[in-house]
Symmetry: C2
Subunit: 145 residues, 2 copies
C-alpha cells in the first residue's frame, strides 16, 4: 500500500483533513473488521500489516480519529476503551457482563424519553448514553459458571 494508492480509508482520512498514514489506514481497516476493539486488539491487528508499529502510535491514531469524529470511543465499566467506526447515529451498546463482548443497540424509543430525565441536579444536559448489560449468546449458552 503505497502512499499514492487510493483506497476508501485514505479518502475518508483526507476528507476529514487528516494525513493518510499507513497506521491510520490499517487502524480503520481493523475497526471495520472488528467493531468495538480496544487499543491493544487494534494494535495486534495492525501489527500484522505493519510490523514496526508501536502501541503508542495506535493510541495516537485512535485519539486523532476520535477527535476528527471518524471514530467513537466507548468505555464500559471494567473494560479498556473500545472504538468503533459507527458514528453520528445515536446508538447504544449492550455489554456481556461475563466476557465483555459488545453489541450495538438502536436507541430504544426514538431518543426523546431516554434523553429527558425528570431531575438534572442543576446540570445542563447535552447527551444521554445508555449501556445495557446482559449475557451474549455464547455466555448464555455456556453450561454453568
Amino acid at each position: 500500500m503505497s502512499p499514492t494508492e487510493v483506497s476508501p480509508e485514505r479518502e475518508l482520512l483526507r476528507s476529514a483533513g487528516l494525513r493518510a498514514t499507513d497506521q491510520r489506514v490499517e487502524t480503520i481497516r481493523a475497526l471495520e473488521k472488528h467493531p468495538h476493539a480496544d487499543a491493544q486488539a487494534v494494535f495486534d491487528i495492525v501489527l500484522h500489516e505493519l510490523p514496526d508499529t508501536s502501541v503508542q502510535a495506535i493510541y495516537g491514531v485512535l485519539g486523532a480519529l476520535t477527535d476528527a469524529g471518524l471514530v467513537r470511543r466507548i468505555e464500559p465499566a471494567g473494560s479498556p476503551a473500545r472504538y468503533e467506526l459507527r458514528v453520528g447515529d445515536n446508538h447504544h451498546h449492550i455489554v456481556c457482563s461475563k466476557c465483555g463482548a459488545i453489541g450495538d443497540v438502536d436507541c430504544a424509543v426514538g431518543h426523546a424519553p431516554c434523553l429527558t430525565p425528570v431531575t438534572t441536579s442543576g446540570f445542563t444536559l447535552t447527551t444521554a448514553e445508555v449501556t445495557y448489560w446482559g449475557l451474549c449468546p455464547n455466555c448464555a449458552a455456556a453450561p454453568l459458571s
Copy 2:
C-alpha cells in the same frame, strides 16, 4: 469508637453479615458526606479519622461493601470508579464533561422505555444503565474555557 460501641454504620455492616471494622465504618461515613467519591477521596477522608489506614484497605473495604450490596460502584468514562451508598433504586447519573462532577438523576420514565431496546444483538438483557452528560452549574457559569 470502640468495637463494642453501637452506631448506624456498625449495625448496617453487621446486618449485612460483615465485620464492623473501623475502616468500614469510616468509609461509610465518608460516602454519607461525599456521595460519588472515588477510592482516593475516600482514603483521604478516612485518613483523618484513622491515620494508619492504607489505600489498599480502602479498595478492600469498597470491594467488600460493593459485593455485599451496601455500596454501588459507578465507572463513568474518563474517571476512576466512584462509589455511593444509594443502592437498590434504579437511579442514574449525570456527569459534568468538564470537571467530572456527578449528580443523581431519577429514572427518566418509570424504567420501561429505557430498559427495552429494539434490538439486542442476541444478548440476554438484564439491566440498563443511563449516563447523562452535560455541564454542572459551576462549569456552566464559568466564563470561557
